[in-house]
Amino acid sequence: MLERPKRKNPVLRTRLPTLPPAARSRVALGLTAAAALGRFELQQCRDCGTVQYPPREACQKCLSVRLDWKPQPQTGDLLSDTVLHHSNDLFFRERLPWRLGLVKLDCGPTVVAHLHERVAQAAGKVTVAAKLDRAGQAVMVALPPKEIDMAEDRQLREFTCDPKFRKVLVTDGKTATGQALVKALADAGADLIWVGHAEPWKKFAGFDELKAIKRVTLLPLDVTDSKNVRELAAEVGGKVDILVNNAEHHRAYGISNRSGVDAARAEMDVNYFGLLRLAQEFGPAMRGRGADGLASATAWVNVLSIYALANFPSHGTFSASKAAAHSLSQCLRAELRPAGVRVINIFPGPLDDEWNQLLPPPKVAPAALANAVLKALREGVEDVYPGDVAQEWLARWRDNPKALEKELST
C-alpha cells in the first residue's frame, strides 16, 4: 500500500521531469497503439502463426513479412527477476532501485518486464500487460495473476495517473456527468477536487449534493472567459495534478436546420477555444510539475465525443467542434509529453443528457462515463471509447473511415 505523501515543502526545488527512453521504430509503435487503447497485441505471422517480440519487420521463424497485430493471451511464467541498482538513464536513475524480470509468455516470446512488487520471486505465473509509460510509449509490465491495483505499487504508479492523493480540477460541475465524475474522483481518494461552474447565478440541480462532498470546492469557471480561466489558473493552477475538461456545449443541429452561426460558435467557443484557453493557462504549471513526487501533475482528460472521428450530420456542428478539440488535444499531448503528463481522450457515444433526448438508447450514463475516466486514469490508457455506440463506431471507423462517413450520411 502506498502511504499518503507528505505535504510538499513549498520552498524546496521541484524536480524537473525526465522520461524513460521514448524512441521507437514505426513498427514498434504498433505495441503502443494497442496499449493506448488498453489492449495487449503482439505481431503474429499470417503464414506460420508465430507470435513475435520485440516488434519486427519479418517473421523470426519463416521470414514472412505478413505480420499482423493481434490480441494475445496475457499469461506467462516469470523465468527470472532482478533489481536494478544502477542506471545511466536519468529517468530510472532517479527511481532506483527498480525491479525487472524475464517473462516467457504462453503465446511464445520471452519479454523483459517491469515487475509489480507483489510479483513473487521467480519462478511463477504472472499476467503481462503492455502499458504506456511516462514517455507515452508501451512497455511490458508483469502483475500478479490475480487482478491488482497498479497504483498501489511505487514502480507501476509511474505508468498510471491514479487520482489517489492527487488534486483534481473538473471544469464543469453543472452537468450530471460532471457530478458523477466528481463523485467518482472523491471515492477514488482524490485529495482535493476543484469544480467549476459557469454562470454562477444559476443554481443547478445537484449543487447542494456537490457542495456536501468533502474535499470539493466549487469555483466560478466559464471556459469562454479568458480572464476567468487565467485568474483561476493563477489561483490553483500550480496545484492541479489532474485536469478533467468536461465543459461542453452541445446543440443538435446540422447546417441547414439552424440559421446563423451562433449555436455553432458557442460550441466552438466552449469545446475548442475552451480547451485552448485551459491548455494555455493550466498547461505551463502542469508541465513544471511532472515529476513532483508521488502526487505530481500527471494527466489531462478531455471528454470529447465519438463524433470527433466522423461527423454525425444531425449533430453536425457539435461534431465539428469536437473534431477540432480532438485535433488540438493531439497538440496538447505533444506539448505535455516532455513533462510526462498524459493526455487522455474520452470519446463517448451519446451521453444520456438533455441534448441527446431524441436519440434512442443505448446512451452513456453519467456514472458509466465517470467509471471510464477513472479506469483510464488507473490503467494508464490514452484513448477511451465508452459505450456501445462508441465501440461500434470505433470498429467501423478503424475498418474503413470512408464507409462510416457514407453510413452516417444516409
Binding site: E199, P200, W201, K202, K203, P220, D222, T224, D225, S226, K227, N228, R251, G260, D262, A263, A266
Partner: protein
C-alpha cells in the same frame, strides 16, 4: 448661446455634477439568460491584442465582444416585434436629440427591498406626481430600486429560483400610462431588463418592451447610481453606439445634476 456657456461654466465650477449611471463592462457581469435552446446574447468578453509584448511592443489594446444587450444598455424600438415597422426605430436612425432628456426618478427602493417582484403601478405613479409634479413629455422615467447595489454579487443581482428570475419592474398599466398619457422618451431600470423578472406572466408578456417599443420609445437597463439623482431636475444623456440597424447597444449613461 448663453445656455451652453452656462452649462460649460456650471460643469467647470462644479455647479453641475456629472453622475455616471453606467455599470462597468466586465466578463463577470451577469448577462441575460434565455432558455438554452434559443439564440443567446453574447456576454461581454475581452481578449488582449497586445500588452507591450511580442505581439505589439509599445502598445496595449484589447478586442472585446458582446451582444447589443450587454451591461448597461439601450433598447431601441426595433428590438421588439411591436416596434419593428416604426420609422427611425433603430439605434442609427433615432434622432440624436432624443437621447437627451430630463429625468424623473421614481423611488421604489423601499418597496423593492421588501418584494423583489415589486411591480410599479399606475396609482403609484399618480401618487408620486402629487409629491413631485407631473412627468413632462420627452423625458426619461427611471425606476430607482437600488437593485444595482447587488451588482457585485451576480447571484443576488440575477435572483433566480426554480420559477425563474425575481426582479422589480413596471406593470402593464404603468407602462401604458407613461407612454399614452405622459408621452415619455423612455423607461430605465437598475435590473437586467426594463421589465420585471416575472414579466413573462404579465399580459402581454413583457409589457414594457411591448408598449414602450411599440410606441417608438426606448429602454435603459442595468443603470446604477440612481440614488444620487434628485426626483426631478436631472438631465440624462444616453446615446447608444451607431450600429447600422442595431436593436440596442451598450452605452455610457450620464446624468447632469445641478447642485443646490
Amino acid at each position: 448661446m448663453s445656455a451652453l456657456a452656462d452649462l460649460a461654466k456650471g460643469l467647470a465650477r462644479g455647479k453641475i455634477k456629472v453622475v455616471d449611471l453606467t455599470e462597468t463592462l466586465a466578463p463577470e457581469f451577469p448577462s441575460i439568460s434565455l432558455p438554452p435552446e434559443m439564440g443567446q446574447a453574447w456576454p461581454f468578453r475581452i481578449e488582449e491584442v497586445s500588452r507591450y509584448d511580442e505581439r505589439g511592443p509599445a502598445w496595449y489594446w484589447n478586442n472585446f465582444s458582446c451582444g447589443e444587450h450587454t451591461g448597461t444598455h439601450f433598447d431601441a424600438p426595433i428590438h421588439w416585434v411591436s416596434g419593428k415597422d416604426l420609422p427611425n426605430n433603430a439605434v442609427d436612425s433615432i434622432a440624436p436629440e432624443r437621447f437627451i432628456g430630463p429625468a424623473f426618478v421614481v423611488d421604489c427602493s423601499k418597496q423593492a427591498r421588501k418584494d423583489p417582484d415589486f411591480l410599479l403601478t399606475r396609482p403609484f405613479l399618480v401618487k408620486w406626481e402629487k409629491t413631485h409634479g407631473r412627468i413632462s413629455p420627452r423625458s426619461w422615467v427611471l425606476m430607482r430600486t437600488d437593485w444595482s447595489k447587488k451588482s457585485d454579487d451576480p447571484v443576488a443581482y440575477q435572483n433566480y429560483d426554480e420559477t425563474g428570475q425575481h426582479t422589480p419592474g413596471p406593470d402593464t398599466d404603468a407602462v401604458r400610462f407613461l407612454v399614452e398619457e405622459r408621452d415619455i422618451l423612455g423607461f430605465g431600470t437598475e435590473s437586467i431588463g426594463t421589465d420585471a423578472g416575472q414579466a413573462y406572466h404579465l399580459r402581454p408578456p413583457y409589457p414594457c418592451h411591448y408598449y414602450m417599443h411599440g410606441a417608438g420609445r426606448y429602454g435603459l437597463q442595468c443603470l446604477k447610481n440612481l440614488d444620487q439623482l434628485p426626483p426631478t431636475g436631472a438631465v440624462v444623456v444616453a446615446a447608444p453606439l451607431k450600429i447600422k440597424n442595431g436593436s440596442g447597444s451598450p452605452l455610457r449613461v450620464l446624468a447632469l445634476v445641478e447642485s443646490k
